[in-house]
Symmetry: C3
Subunit: 214 residues, 3 copies
């Protein structure tokens, strides 16, 4: 297990905590807590691996990847007060996880036989996929789509883009990955601090729903 | 890039536009617009490729497949008036995309080691998968399930079935695919024009929800 | 086709019936009925096969796997009275399907290059994945997460765990699988009869939603 793996597992832990907190918010039972934490922590990376053909996904090959979300669920269930006190740090960790996942995801993708924009997409999916599925399973519209959300997908995409560009320029891997993670982390923290939003289309489109047209 | 690929990309463009329009309807920001357009345009084909073992999916191997939904998102965001004027044509294009995806999807599936009914299913999934995921991510019950929807899955299934039967009879590929796409297109347009519905089960089943039984 | 396959198909039939009943409850049309039945019956096994690298999934390689959900949809649509009279048996069959899927899923997973906890997870996913997707597509929060649901994921997990432990101890396959299915079935029936619940985290966490933090 190398440094990247440790950082990956740290990111999974933080994402899993966010899933467990959503589960508690919805008053799910312990099964829902463990399930939503696991999904949030692992779904992004599993989707990434299936898409690039690394099957079985690393999360199923290495047992540590599955133990981490269970630990997160136990922590949230047993120490809710600790999670409350850590909520601000958790947000920082979440941003760090976002950056790490985007960088790790994109660097795995550039080694796979996918196109250059696909490597960026796969990196971004690694970072945002778990949270997306968390929201769908909890019955919410994914927060990253919402007009009042702070930047989330954009930092992930930028981080993945940096890795892919660095790979094209044959720059050394590790500094590029660290730089990409730091940039994505910084963009996300800046968005949280300064309230940066993605632009919203300037006006509604006045068409009937395409699907219910007579 | 052959004719099939061009038609595939045209179908992706039209489906992506439909996803972007739904995103605008829900007041998603630009990230949501791009994400929902990409999902709607590509999810059906990506699911198809994963199921038949063509991994990485073509949408990740060839960069054009990823650029098309982004172009669609920019068009919808920048030229909403153009989309409004084109809404009737878009509905026609959507029906054309449905036919093309069903035909292309089924012909890819018959070359894979799947059963005959599975090739039909995979063709239909190619055609309807993107729209299904679009609705789930937008927090709506998938329109194709709804009792007041016009025929959508049935034209896709019939189109895929034509390709599979043609393959079994060893008919020449290209005319069969074109014929299948035209038939699916015609069924969908007929359903829109004449209001054809799928039958609805004649009465509700008077059982408690199976899952909440004491 | 061996005994396991027959039991697998029986489980698919019962799960498909549960999906069709939910479709009728929501007044979906026949397309929705067939689609939701197929998803409920097959999605767990397809997800399992994709995750462990058995692609195309068995449900797409063997035509019987696709015919069974269609038969289930026809039965529910044509014979709703029969389904009503069978609702109590269906609940029993559903518990049997849960046990069978967990045991079959876990035994397929232990033959794949996945970690030991991953084999348990994959077995549980086999058993609960279809119902989970059924609920999401029907626009409901998955019932297995709910605080008032009876044990469902836990019997599946225990059944899968028994298979994995038996495999580690090199016990003979068939008796272990049957025992695992019986144990999972018994736990589920006990939960239904005695109202066993999973524990609920003792109190809500007083943090703002992590995702909407300023």
């Amino acid at each position: 297990m190398n440094v990247t793996d440790v950082l990956d597992l740290l990111g999974i832990f933080v994402f899993a905590v966010s899933g467990c907190v959503v589960a508690v918010k919805h008053r799910f039972d312990m099964v829902g807590l463990v399930a939503l934490g696991t999904v949030t922590g692992l779904a992004g990376g599993i989707t990434r691996d299936v898409l690039i053909g690394e099957i079985p996904p690393v999360a199923l090959r290495e047992w540590e990847w599955l133990v981490v979300p269970i630990v997160a669920a136990v922590v949230v269930a047993v120490l809710p007060g600790w999670v409350e006190r850590l909520s601000q740090p958790v947000l920082v960790f979440d941003a760090a996880g976002l950056g790490l996942f985007a960088a790790v995801g994109a660097s795995r993708a550039v080694d796979a036989p996918v196109s250059i924009p696909a490597a960026v997409l796969v990196g971004a999916i690694s970072a945002i996929g778990g949270g997306l599925l968390r929201d769908v399973l909890a019955g919410e519209v994914p927060q990253i789509f919402s007009a009042d959300s702070k930047l989330y997908a954009i930092p992930a995409t930028v981080g993945a883009l940096v890795v892919v560009i660095g790979d094209e320029l044959a720059l050394p891997d590790t500094p590029v990955q660290i730089g990409a993670a730091v940039i994505a982390f910084g963009l996300r923290m800046g968005a949280l601090h300064f309230g940066w939003h993605a632009p919203i289309p300037r006006r509604a489109i006045e068409v009937d729903d395409l699907r219910s047209r007579p």
